[in-house]
């Protein structure tokens, strides 16, 4: 029995020795293989660093990186001469108004970390629709068809701004959720088939847009985005075109969105609406 124990011990030692002897310790550690060289910066890059990275810690990813988009789709990069104009619009119509009312670090503290720019349209396969923007995990917002913005036409600029306000609303909600009461206003009418609703049907059901009827969090940010990209008069006109029941629902939801901003961020949403709309008009040619 003792021989057996000794033999076992010797065997283990031999195995340990043989395992450790397998180490091929050639010089595998060398200088880092991560590219740490300073990128080539154009005047545009320097401007973006000064206007977005330094004050807000937001990267404007206008240089094409195939990993930022769905490679199966036929997308293409923005033309360089369209970058600064759209970036300035974002600053004026989104960042500055929020900072003016929420405090000078409002956007720096609470914002997506990256805006991705794409020049062409994002056509949805097997559907006569396009995707206007994509938000991912509160960290990145991707804008499409930026090469086709017409700064003489408010509606052309309003569309991507609506995307921005919509997605930013989600980011705010992820930081401070809205109360469950919001979803109880029209709980039975949320539908995955929202795209079958006409604008009028949506309004009559108490939704500011058809997409608002998809989920309660979309409903919340659609009200926000529509308020911040239209004057109160325009917003009221849209609500007034709904059925009486629809109007009541939308007004109740709007009040909850207004209260949310006042309670959680001390921002008067009507005041923000005035600022964003004035900036939108000023951004036009």
């Amino acid at each position: 029995m003792k021989n057996f124990k000794n033999s076992t011990l010797v065997g283990f030692i031999l195995i340990l020795l043989s395992v450790s002897s397998c180490d091929n310790d050639s010089d595998s550690i060398s200088a880092t293989q991560i590219d740490t060289s300073t990128p080539i910066l154009s005047n545009l890059d320097i401007w973006l660093r000064n206007e977005f990275v330094a004050p807000f810690n937001i990267e404007i990813a206008y240089l094409w990186n195939p990993n930022n988009v769905d490679i199966a789709r036929f997308l293409y990069p923005i033309q360089e001469n369209n970058v600064q104009r759209w970036s300035q619009t974002i600053l004026d119509v989104w960042a500055k108004p929020y900072n003016q009312l929420g405090g000078e670090d409002f956007i720096a503290n609470l914002a997506p970390r990256q805006f991705v720019y794409s020049g062409g349209f994002n056509f949805n396969p097997n559907s006569p629709t396009i995707t206007l923007g994509v938000a991912e995990a509160g960290a990145r917002i991707t804008f499409f068809n930026l090469d086709f913005l017409d700064y003489t036409n408010a509606n052309s600029i309003r569309q991507p701004l609506q995307t921005l306000h919509h997605e930013y609303g989600h980011i705010l909600n992820q930081t401070v959720p809205f109360t469950d009461d919001f979803g109880q206003i029209t709980p039975a009418d949320y539908t995955a088939q929202w795209f079958n609703l006409s604008d009028q049907e949506a309004l009559d059901s108490g939704f500011i847009t058809p997409y608002a009827s998809s989920k309660e969090d979309e409903d919340f940010v659609e009200i926000l985005a529509n308020m911040l990209t239209s004057t109160q008069t325009e917003f009221d006109a849209r609500v007034s075109s709904a059925s009486p029941e629809g109007q009541a629902f939308i007004r109740e939801k709007q009040q909850m969105v207004v209260d949310y901003f006042q309670t959680n961020f001390s921002i008067d949403l009507f005041e923000l609406q005035i600022l964003t709309n004035e900036a939108l008009i000023a951004a036009l040619d």
Binding site: N3, G11, L14, S18, N65, P66, P77, F123, F148
Partner: protein
């Protein structure tokens, strides 16, 4: 117990021997360097190659060999990650200045055009007004395959594209690259230019290959939108076979040429580059390989018998034959029908009502072989652009007849309403197209074409063509409905 002890001892010895063997470092590594080092080297190599040519590179990008042809590019790369480029995809060949980057791809170094240039963007998405989604299958990301004798090869992963560039040979990139693009663009347009005064839809492109005493003849259908050809041939048993090839109109040693992709393999010969034979009549391109020749040329095809008319028209005609612009294009509608009928109607409407007030949208022909009481008629429609309201008017013909595989009918008069009378002059090119009296004309040739197919739509409806035999430049493709 002793047996157990022996057994365990043997197991340990065996295990130890196995470990010793497993430690063998047999020096059979496939690569000398780590993947990271190799890809860094590739990036450095490609970056150096791209900027090594002061006058840039020229090459052809074939985005997808199964559906589209090739586009000539000229690119001049700078060390500051900027690239000047021109191409001959569209008529605007002026140089763009955008950015590029050589970066780490999935398995190799990649050339990425990081900001938009319309020369590349146009291949990715068709931005023409009124188009929802259309692509030439292009991309702005290219995987580096390698370099040989100054020729750099890239491949594009999504659509399996091939992009091969070589030093441009220019002495002044800015002027010579644009001039070259203008020439190759013009050559491409000239290939399908027709003179409607003398054109015939029966004048077709063909390819003839003479290889070791054997001759193979192909019918060549050229799709100018996609710069793509379908070759069709029939063997002795009249079994036809066809396949498609991408085409690029380019310059080889300064001579106008057609390069096809993939190359056409016949016997042991591979035909790829066809040079314009300017001494031959018409557009004739010739490839010569090892004494064998392949020739692209125009020829007059045998006129179809037209016997489809006896089967189709009496049964399908009364349901209505439809040509509607929104259904999309089919190459069987001849360019001269477009120019002399459709475009002329729109020009007439402009002259009558002002530019762009009305546009022609569709016509239908309802065939009747029994009645002269306006049961055989042409329906035409224009749309008022301002509000989208469509106006429909009718024109009466005497009954249709079929004789010797040809269709005959004679125009009578506008049907009733004032609009038909007011618009008659504007619609006269179309009215005349169907006006083929048996006594004074050669009639119309009809061909059945199976189910309907265009560049944007496919339907199960039977489709067919009508050719006016008195003016064989005019042929229309449409579908039967109802």
């Amino acid at each position: 117990m002793k047996k157990i002890f022996n057994c365990i001892s043997k197991l340990f010895i065996l295990g130890f021997a196995l470990f010793l063997v497993s430690c063998s470092d047999d020096d059979t590594e496939l690569f000398d360097e780590t993947p990271a080092v190799r890809i860094t080297n590739e990036i450095n190599e490609l970056e150096a190659l791209l900027v090594s040519q002061q006058q840039g590179y020229s090459g052809i990008y074939f985005p997808n060999n199964t559906s589209v042809g090739g586009v000539n590019f000229h690119m001049n790369f700078s060390a500051n990650q900027r690239v000047k480029m021109t191409s001959d995809f569209k008529s605007d060949t002026s140089i763009t200045d955008s950015r590029y980057e050589v970066s780490t791809g999935t398995t190799a170094a990649e050339l990425v055009f990081t900001t938009g240039s319309r020369h590349i963007n146009d291949l990715i998405q068709n931005s023409d007004p009124g188009i929802f989604f259309d692509s030439f299958f292009g991309n702005n990301v290219f995987q580096y395959v390698g370099e040989e004798n100054g020729v750099i090869t890239f491949r594009e992963i999504r659509s399996r594209g091939i992009f091969v560039i070589s030093p441009s040979g220019f002495t002044n990139f800015d002027t010579e690259s644009v001039a070259s693009s203008d020439i190759t663009y013009a050559n491409r347009q000239a290939f399908t230019d027709v003179d409607c005064a003398t054109a015939s839809v029966f004048n077709i492109f063909a390819m003839e290959i003479n290889n070791s005493g054997e001759t193979i003849n192909y019918t060549l259908n050229y799709d100018s939108d996609n710069i793509f050809i379908d070759l069709e041939t029939a063997n002795a048993e009249v079994v036809s076979s066809s396949y498609g090839l991408g085409v690029a109109f380019t310059l080889i040693d300064g001579e106008p040429a057609i390069t096809i992709s993939p190359a056409l393999e016949v016997g042991n010969n591979s035909f790829k580059d066809f040079i314009l034979d300017s001494s031959a009549p018409g557009a004739q391109y010739v490839a010569t390989v090892n004494g064998a020749t392949a020739r692209i040329f125009q020829t007059l095809m045998t006129t179809p018998t037209g016997d489809d008319v006896n089967l189709d028209l009496p049964t399908l005609g009364p349901t209505g034959y439809l040509y509607r612009l929104s259904l999309g294009n089919n190459a069987l509608t001849s360019p001269c029908f477009q120019e002399l009928v459709i475009d002329q109607i729109n020009a007439n409407l402009d002259a009558q009502f002002g530019d762009g007030v009305f546009v022609f949208t569709q016509f239908q022909f309802i065939f009747n072989f029994d009645s002269d009481n306006c049961d055989n008629y042409l329906l035409t429609q224009v749309t008022r652009v301002a509000d989208g309201v469509a106006f429909t008017v009718f024109y009466c013909y005497n009954k249709s007849t079929i004789s010797n595989n040809r269709l005959f009918q004679e125009y009578d008069e506008p049907y009733g309403t004032a609009n038909a009378i007011v618009l008659e002059a504007s619609f006269m090119p179309l009215i005349e197209f169907y006006n083929n009296p048996e006594a004074t004309s050669q009639g119309m040739l009809y061909t059945g074409e199976g189910s309907f197919s265009s560049d944007t739509n496919s339907y199960i409806n039977p489709a067919g063509t009508f050719t006016k035999m008195d003016d064989q430049a005019l042929r229309v493709y449409g579908l039967f409905f109802g």
